[in-house]
Amino acid sequence: MKKGRLRLSPSLANRLTIGFAIAFAALTGMAVIGVARFLEQRQDFEDATARSYQLEIDARSRLARGEDPRAARSAVVSEQRQRQVLRDEITADTRDTALLVGAGLIAGLTGAALLFTGLIASMRRPLEDLVEASGRLAGGDLETRVAVGGLAETAALGGAFNEMAAELQRRAGERDQLDRMKDEFVLTASHELRSPLTSVQGFAELLLLERERLSPKQAETVEVILDNTRHLVRLLNDLLDLARSDAGRLTIRREPAAAAGLIEDAVRAMRGQIEARGQALGLEIEPGLPEVEADRDRIRQVLVNLLTNANEYCPEGASIGVKARRLDADVEIEVIDDGPGIPAQQLEHIFERFTRGDAGETQRVGGTGLGLAISKSLVELHGGSIEAESTAGRGATFRVRLPAIGSAGPTVTHPTTAAEAS
């Protein structure tokens, strides 16, 4: 059923015409009949009254002439009575006619009212159903349908609505299936690639265990194999996280954790790599930093990602700083570097996937272009936020905010973590 646009159907137009016709016919018919009958009766009354006056005049002249006075007197009285009867009759007829016309009017109007009420009622229910169904559809219930019936208009509307809902459902189904296939593919690919990667990485490590038996050139070659394998693993992990995030299946396991401890873990993991490039790494944690509700591995992943970026994009000898403090109800962690910074047009898209530094830069850096997109998803899953601030040529700052536990209450101090921090 494909209809370009909705027009008033013959059925509704007919019903309206017939309704009007019946109402007018009833009204006009009753008025005409009533008035005609009344005029006829009025004429009869006038004729009869005239006749009666004539008879009375005749009787009075007979009386004046002294002819049969008794009969004449009786005739006068009789005619007077006769006219009284006629007057009563015409009064009754007038009343009846008025009643008849009134009844006609009432009947006509009632009929018309009933007809319109019926029409409105027969459109109202389906329309109300449609309004409700549209609400459900907009709310995401793609299985919603309306009963098709009643007037041709509402039936057509209902049919069109059902068709639209079915189409939406079909497309959503196709999209879901494509998404599932994509997720399935990424999961399978990730799984299938992991075994060979395990072998490559494992045997390369095995070779390095006997480093003293390798020439420097050979050892360096094995290091290259290992570096690239680790990069592939990172890419694989990022793709998996991203596919999960897209499918809404990126989950975190949160538990209370000392923010200071989380930060120190990440810094400890990255210190060697940062110092290997002759870069300075400073750590400033405000004493008494509260706990956060966090998935330790995931927050560590975020901080390691930020530190890795700083490490890789900054030149040798740069300085990188990590600062953490309590800010309102949050713990704010900043990763600050004095490297080349991020141009404004890149900064705008920095948390979008596959957004990376200059082509020349990325050749050298070799990240996956996914780290910040995943970091953003992860921080947001924690109910936090992440932002970047930079002026080209004057370094960059990445700021992560995580909701602190018991932010409404007094600051909880953790002697151990505070001691470690100092």
């Binding site: 075994s195 990667l197 494992g202 989950t251």
Partner: protein
């Protein structure tokens, strides 16, 4: 050093695990799938100090093999090696006593630490 039963459907990975574990001084027995694991353990219960099982293998997975062994009352400590770091989300393994998960690619330092904890 106690004997470790290692199961993986990839011969290369079995070779890698055997080599690294033997270098650490462990005695290693290998199995190609879950069926082999169950057979090997039931043949001589108590001979193994640790099971190192790949979570996904053809015929019978490491998880299914472990479930069967646990049902038969065998409580040998087990480490599950899986392709996904967070494989515990994928299947319900809450009824099994699992001493730890090892993600692929394997971080051997981490693996050796766990083995030492479980076998000493």
């Amino acid at each position: 050093m106690a004997k470790i039963l290692v199961a993986d459907d990839s011969e290369t990975i079995l070779l890698l695990l055997r080599t690294r574990l033997e270098l650490e001084g462990h005695e290693v027995e290998t199995a190609a799938d879950g069926e082999d694991v169950v057979t090997a353990v039931l043949r001589d219960p108590g001979a193994h100090a640790l099971l190192l099982l790949d979570a996904m293998m053809p015929r019978k997975s490491g998880i299914d093999a472990l479930r069967e062994l646990r049902e038969r009352g065998i409580e040998t400590p087990a480490l599950v090696v899986s392709a996904h770091a967070d494989s515990r989300d994928d299947t319900d393994q809450s009824d099994l006593t699992i001493s730890g998960y090892i993600a692929k690619p394997i971080d051997f330092d981490n693996l050796f630490t766990k083995i030492t904890e479980l076998t000493s």
